[in-house]
């Protein structure tokens, strides 16, 4: 808990830091997750020493938050993530990709064949979560991540009269500290779980987390109960988490006293209505969260050069709309379940959730045909993570003090170099990457590829400011050889 009183003026001076333990570095990355990891990794690859860098975060493991969310949504270390082979978060060059590394470690050519044939002959190659975590741990050790890490929680960023930026934070013991840096990077990720109002109300007033859970929360007990007793599960959402949860639920069907049924609620839109009416399938299939061309291709160019904020927001919303991966095995599982009556898609919106007479959760869904009511043994909300940047106290403070603004998509506005321009009051620079910055010049900002693409832009800007050397052909090749050999940068 941060106990120090924040200055009531925007630009702070020494008097505001009195009584606070203070430390100064050249660049401070706030968050400590994969967005920070991508940037710090690239800076280390460019040759910036660890003494000039610091990372502020809760956990010393940069993958911890990602691993927890993945695990809760049903992706264990042996399961595959929805990510491209070349989108390698521990290797800024994307070469060798995860497929080549897997082929080498397993001494099998199959991963390479999959990459060669994707998506025509084979489905897209996707890396195992465990391999991704192992790569991150290896790279973190190589770049000296632990030496740069400071355990704590940031609460506010303010410019200092001498040009630096000051991050007011609480350290591991909860004591207030002031971390000063010329350059500050925010990689805070999502603010929390996005639970819809009816389900939030139910949890607050009826049942804390037994029947109504979020897909990113621990909810193994739900599967256990449904496996042994059967019953009805309501799943809301149409993205990768919902797909994963539906797949898991359908695979839990067994000889219970009651058959396991899944009612899948998707928000209405014309495409979904037509898809459910004709094929009974509400899923929008797409290999990755954005089309491939949003990662550097023609769509990326269109997004980057779109000058109208509303038009860009619409373009991004359409390209990044909730989708499920193209997987033949899962599609046939869905088709079988639909035929058996175990899977029922409903296009509508959950309006209320209250307890039924038999102790279950009565979910009312407003559909085109009227109110559809389900008595559910479990409700799993998979509508994503909290998108409102104001949910972060630090971002809320930035927005309140006018040091940042939101873009047309309601996220943090940044320029082409991922700089928060409103915070540029002196020589200090404030950057932000990751999920916070959706709706700007880059589409898939919270994908592995997007984190690295954003990091390259930030580092190029820092190179222009003279903080580091630009990674040209020779420097890049030398740095890559060090990576291959496992030598520190």
């Amino acid at each position: 808990m941060f106990t120090h009183e924040l200055p009531d003026h925007v630009v702070c001076d020494e008097s505001d830091l009195r009584g606070l333990r203070s430390e100064r570095v050249e660049l401070l990355a706030v968050g400590g997750g994969l967005a920070c990891f991508s940037l710090i990794d690239l800076l280390r690859v460019c040759g910036v020493p660890t003494s000039a860098l610091a990372v502020l975060g809760r956990s010393v493991d940069p993958a911890e938050n990602f691993r927890r969310l993945a695990l809760h949504s049903g992706i264990g270390p042996n399961d595959r993530l929805r990510s491209d082979s070349a989108a390698r978060v521990d290797n800024v060059w994307g070469f060798p990709g995860y497929a080549l590394s897997e082929a080498r470690s397993r001494r099998r050519l199959r991963p390479l064949g999959t990459v060669l044939g994707e998506p025509l002959i084979s489905e897209y190659y996707t890396p195992r979560a465990g391999a991704v975590y192992a790569g991150i741990a290896r790279e973190a050790a190589r770049i000296g991540w632990a030496r740069m890490h400071r355990r704590g929680l940031a609460h506010a960023v303010r410019p200092h009269v001498d040009g630096d930026l000051v991050v007011f934070a609480a350290d591991a013991d909860g004591d207030p500290v002031a971390l000063r840096a010329r350059y500050v990077h925010l990689g805070l990720g999502h603010a929390g779980l996005g639970l819809s109002a009816p389900l939030r109300d139910y949890r607050e007033h009826v049942d804390a987390s037994e029947r109504v859970v979020h897909g990113y929360e621990a909810h193994e007990h739900v599967y256990r109960r449904l496996r042994t007793r059967g019953g009805t599960a309501v799943v809301t959402g149409a993205g990768i988490t919902a797909a994963r949860v539906v797949e898991r639920l359908l695979s839990e069907r067994g000889p219970g006293p009651e058959p396991l049924r899944v009612v899948h609620v998707v928000r209405p839109n014309p495409t979904r209505r037509a898809a459910v009416a004709t094929a009974g399938d509400p899923w929008r299939r797409q290999a990755f969260s954005f089309p491939k061309s949003a990662a550097g291709g023609p769509l990326a160019w269109r997004i980057a050069t779109c000058t109208q904020p509303a038009e860009r927001a619409a373009l991004l919303a359409a390209a990044g709309a909730a989708s499920a991966p193209v997987r033949r095995e899962w599609s046939s599982q869905l088709a079988d379940a639909r035929q058996e009556g175990s899977y029922r898609p409903v296009v509508g919106t959950v309006t209320t959730t209250d307890p039924s007479a038999d102790g279950r959760a009565r979910v009312r869904i407003a559909t085109d045909g009227g109110i559809f009511e389900v008595c559910a043994d479990a409700v799993i909300e998979c509508t994503g993570l909290h998108p409102d940047p104001r949910s972060h106290p630090l971002i809320d403070d930035l927005l309140t003090t006018g040091l940042a603004r939101t873009n047309a998509s309601g996220r943090l506005a940044v320029d082409e170099s991922f700089e928060v321009r409103e915070a540029r009051l002196g020589a200090g620079r404030l950057y932000a990457t990751g999920a916070l910055t959706a709706g700007n010049a880059l589409g898939p900002v919270d994908s592995f590829w997007g984190l690295q693409a954003a990091a390259v832009r930030v580092v190029d800007d820092l190179a222009r400011l003279g903080f580091t050397e630009r990674l040209g052909v020779r420097r890049s090749t030398r740095a890559w050889l060090r990576w291959v050999l496992g030598n520190p940068p």
Binding site: W93, P119, L120, G296, P298, A304, E416, S417, L471, S476
Partner: protein
């Protein structure tokens, strides 16, 4: 990996000149080991140069095809097949230009054009990302990058 049209043209030119040409010429010289190097190299060099020029004409076609695909992508297999597809008209164009491959047209053609195409494809699948870090982030653009052009008012 998806490329913009500009990225395609720049990549084709860069890979052709720095990878395809030396590889094609070296393999052709090795294939005709014992022949005077200049005699072996010049027809190979000419064939690869024509391949690069024709390739620049093919790229807008590939770009149109990729734009029509759902993900607007260009799978690695397409890029590999393109080498074989391009070889057929290239053969006729070379003949039309009076090229005889130093007396052994088919062998010289396969050695130079095949080696050049394969090397270009292989390098584009990975090593190029090491040399040009921003290449995969800018749709294959090799010169400058989107965020360095100043067009967005930085």
């Amino acid at each position: 990996m998806t490329l913009t049209l500009r990225g395609r043209l720049e990549t084709r030119l860069l890979l052709g000149m720095f990878i395809g040409l030396p590889c094609g010429v070296c393999v052709a010289c090795a294939w005709r080991w014992g022949t005077e190097p200049a005699k072996a190299a010049s027809p190979a060099c000419f064939a690869v140069l024509v391949m690069i020029v024709l390739g620049l004409c093919w790229e807008p076609v590939y770009h149109a095809i990729s734009t029509a695909r759902p993900d607007q992508d260009w799978p690695a297999l397409f890029a590999l097949c393109a080498i074989a597809i391009e070889a057929v008209p290239l053969w006729f164009v070379l003949h039309g230009l009076g090229w005889n491959g130093g007396g052994e047209p088919l062998g010289c053609f396969l050695a130079s054009v095949g080696a050049a195409g394969a090397a270009m494809w292989l390098v584009a699948q990975g090593p190029l990302r090491v040399l040009l870090l921003r290449w995969r982030l800018t749709g294959g653009q090799c010169i400058g990058c989107w965020w360095d052009t100043g067009r967005h008012g930085k």
